[in-house]
């Protein structure tokens, strides 16, 4: 049982070490070693996780909770200091409010004598989250090494604060491990706050006005969630003064009467953290941070914490009006964020909206919360984490080579950076195409929603939203594969560690699709079974067919070898105009004209502003509705 506390403490120790180390070589060594050990330790979790049900690991130190409280207070003071420094009064107000709630909770908690021993625990869901954090998170750490040195070469105006960067990244991992392994809700809250703090500091890394503003935007929204979480803690203390309900498992297994209100409040916290509408702004704004930070926020940490707690509380939410409405917030977000992604040409923004959309889908599944949907939600978390981290890191690599993250500038990337393009292509395919991962979850989700109560609305959302995702991914793919005749190859000079990380993630994207029946059978199904008493899986027929499709997709590229002999290369048809290889022709009056092709962005239909207003209004309405309902229950 050593790995659990080890995984929480060790990254924090590495972080502390990295804060002290200024030498590049030593930092490199520490990050590599730390990442390798974290990865290995998270893999070792596979061997200690029981086949069914959670395994608890009591932590003897009662005083830890008080220490955590003290740290939370220190964080509040630190944030207030930053708030005053940057004159962000809303943030100060929110922090003060949250701190007040915490103090009242802590006095309430300390005043009762209780025999509750805070536990760490592991079950299959925690294991899955642990693997995602441990493997993908540490891969991103390694990638950051190369990225950050190039970043500082290219941005000489940004002060080099790499020590605190790596410190924060490893603290982030530590907090995420703590979050998914803690059974004691005040602890979950503590780690929750740490992730908020880390993301706030990482978003503001470059200290430009824009990044500071966006960092505070993220902070405000996440503190709002934190307030709801603190409210949940206070409510639990009020209904069960003994404090035994502060344990996650007892709470989930208790009656609806007790668990529903905390579930909704924590669900709201999850909504803010996973950036559903109307809180999507912070995640979009977070792209000002260096790309590995985005990769970290989007794939293995932060937003996944949000959906994790909602999936945890899915058994409480299922079958309730509140759960349905939370699901609808997710559904609306999925539909509109997918549409908004269509109008974006900034690759990181497209990825951001796609993340928001997928988180929406996960929340929709978890909110409605039948056993099939929870199965689909967990599968979505896994596939999304891998493919999205791959895509962010690809975009980051491309950005450093071609100096742009605009999809329009990625024309003909297949010629300019063939290997990266193939990886990016696989990542994108993994996001929406059969027989890759995300699609499997959407498929199961459609099947499961039909049987769920009021599921028809979600089926419609999936049908329409799913086709919107097809549009924005395919046109991106199209840009990459366009073969422009004259293009310079610029793939050299990418550090080896970036290649290693990208190759591993690409391999994972493909392998996970082949291996997902095993993952489903050994990890997801036992979890769903232990929570719901029944479980689901894809039928053997369909698995066989999908394996066949995989096989076909893998052999298809070899068909290119068949066509080598009898071909004649002819330039593209230009209405009969003779055109040079770099697509220049003489237009009317002999003027030289250059051809450039640009994707459609459908601004007038899928405009960002317009849809955001609509989505925010809808989701805010839904959240207010669920708030009213919950208040009715609570009072």
């Amino acid at each position: 049982m050593i790995p659990l506390p080890f995984l929480v403490v060790f990254p924090a120790l590495v972080a502390a070490l990295l804060l002290l180390v200024a030498n590049e070589t030593w930092r490199r060594l520490a990050v590599w070693a730390g990442a390798a050990i974290i990865g290995a330790a998270s893999l070792s979790l596979l061997f200690i996780t029981p086949q069914s049900g959670p395994l608890f690991y009591p932590v003897g130190y009662e005083a830890l909770t008080e220490v955590m409280f003290a740290v939370e207070m220190a964080i509040a003071v630190f944030l207030i200091y930053l708030g005053i420094k940057h004159r962000k009064y809303l943030a100060i107000f929110l922090i003060l409010f949250q701190a007040a709630l915490l103090v009242s909770f802590e006095t309430g908690r300390a005043s009762v004598v209780h025999g509750v021993v805070p536990n760490l625990f592991i079950d299959q869901l925690s294991l899955i989250m642990g693997l995602i954090i441990g493997i993908i998170g540490s891969l991103i750490c390694i990638y950051s090494l190369g990225y950050m040195s190039t970043y500082h070469e290219q941005h000489p105006t940004v002060p080099d604060r790499r020590r605190s960067f790596f410190f924060l990244v490893f603290v982030f991992l530590s907090a995420m491990f703590g979050l998914v392994f803690s059974d004691y809700l005040p602890w979950v809250f503590f780690f929750w706050e740490i992730t908020t703090l880390c993301s706030f500091l990482l978003i503001g890394y470059s200290k430009t006005d824009e990044s500071v503003n966006n960092a505070f935007l993220a902070l405000n929204m996440n503190i709002l969630g934190g307030i709801a979480f603190a409210g949940a803690l206070i409510y639990i203390m009020a209904v069960s003064p003994g404090g035994e309900m502060l344990q996650l498992h007892s709470l989930i297994q208790s009656s609806h009467a007790i668990a529903l209100v905390p579930a909704v409040l924590i669900g709201f916290a999850g909504i803010t953290k996973s950036a559903l509408m109307p809180f999507s702004g912070w995640l979009v704004g977070a792209m000002v941070a260096p790309t590995p930070v985005s990769a970290l926020l989007h794939s293995s940490t932060m937003v996944k914490a949000g959906v994790y707690v909602i999936v945890r509380f899915a058994p409480v939410l299922t079958g309730t009006m509140e759960g349905l409405i939370i699901g609808l917030v997710g559904g609306v977000t999925f539909l509109l964020a997918s549409a908004m992604a269509i109008s974006q040409s900034n690759a990181k923004k497209v990825l951001a909206y796609s993340t928001i959309a997928n988180l929406g889908l996960i929340v929709a599944c978890a909110g409605v919360g039948t056993y099939k949907l929870v199965w689909a939600a967990i599968l979505l978390i896994i596939f999304h984490a891998i493919a999205k981290s791959l895509l962010f890191l690809c975009v980051g690599t491309v950005e450093h080579r071609i100096g742009s993250r605009d999809i329009e500038d990625m024309t003909g990337l297949i010629v300019r950076m063939p290997r990266i393009s193939v990886m990016m292509f696989i990542g994108i395919a993994g996001m929406f195409l059969a027989p890759f991962g995300m699609l499997i979850s959407k498929w199961v989700a459609i099947e499961a929603f039909i049987e769920a109560q009021f599921g028809l609305a979600f089926v419609a959302i999936l049908a329409f939203g799913g086709s919107l995702t097809v549009l924005f991914w395919s046109k991106w793919m199209g840009k990459i594969v366009s073969v422009c005749p004259v293009a310079e190859k610029v793939e050299n000079g990418i550090p080896t560690e970036k290649w290693i990380v990208l190759s591993i993630l690409t391999a994972l994207t493909v392998l996970i699709c082949l291996a997902f029946p095993v993952i489903s059978a050994h990890l997801i199904e036992p979890f769903v079974l232990s929570v719901y008493g029944q479980t689901t899986r894809l039928s053997q027929d369909n698995l066989t067919i999908m394996a066949m499709m995989h096989f076909l997709l893998m052999i298809m590229p070899f068909s290119m070898l068949l066509y080598r002999n009898d071909k004649r290369i002819v330039p593209a048809y230009m209405g009969g105009r003779p055109t040079t290889p770099d697509l220049t022709f003489s237009g009317s009056m002999g003027m030289k004209q250059h051809v450039s092709l640009c994707n459609y962005y459908f601004e007038e239909v899928f405009g960002e502003q317009k849809l955001f207003m609509v989505g925010s209004a809808l989701c805010l309405g839904l959240i207010l509705l669920v708030g009213t309902l919950t208040a009715g229950v609570a009072l």
Partner: protein
Amino acid sequence: MSSLSRSPWLIHYDASSCNGCDIEVLACLSPLYDVERFGIINTGNPKHADVLVITGGINEQNREVVRNIYDQMPSPKVVVAVGICACTGGVFRECYNVVGGIDRVIPVDVYVPGCAARPESIIDGIVRALSILEEKKAEMEKQGGKGRAGSPVGGGQ
């Protein structure tokens, strides 16, 4: 007869025609003449076409265009010059910017004279071009590869 001559898809290019011959070419597609009886389709895309139908003569503006369209057609392919301007330059022959007939730029297989050429003779010209198409195909196969059909193979009206 192979499929080749049963399915001649053509591209029609107006080099510098006065539109007289163009209208007659389009008339061939109308219900009265209905060239689709022979499987003829006006594709408008050189990459799909087998027959290049050109009306009007070559001038300095369009010689490159005619060349370009011809080059973009997959072999075997035939060229039909429709109307006297396309055949020889016609009344515009002596103009300062007129080069002459189509065969000054690309090999022409069938000449359909007339001012304007009548639909019947246009259809007749295209149908004659089909046998040349077959010949070119045979020649291509004899050469073993699917290389570009080189020299023009005579014929005319």
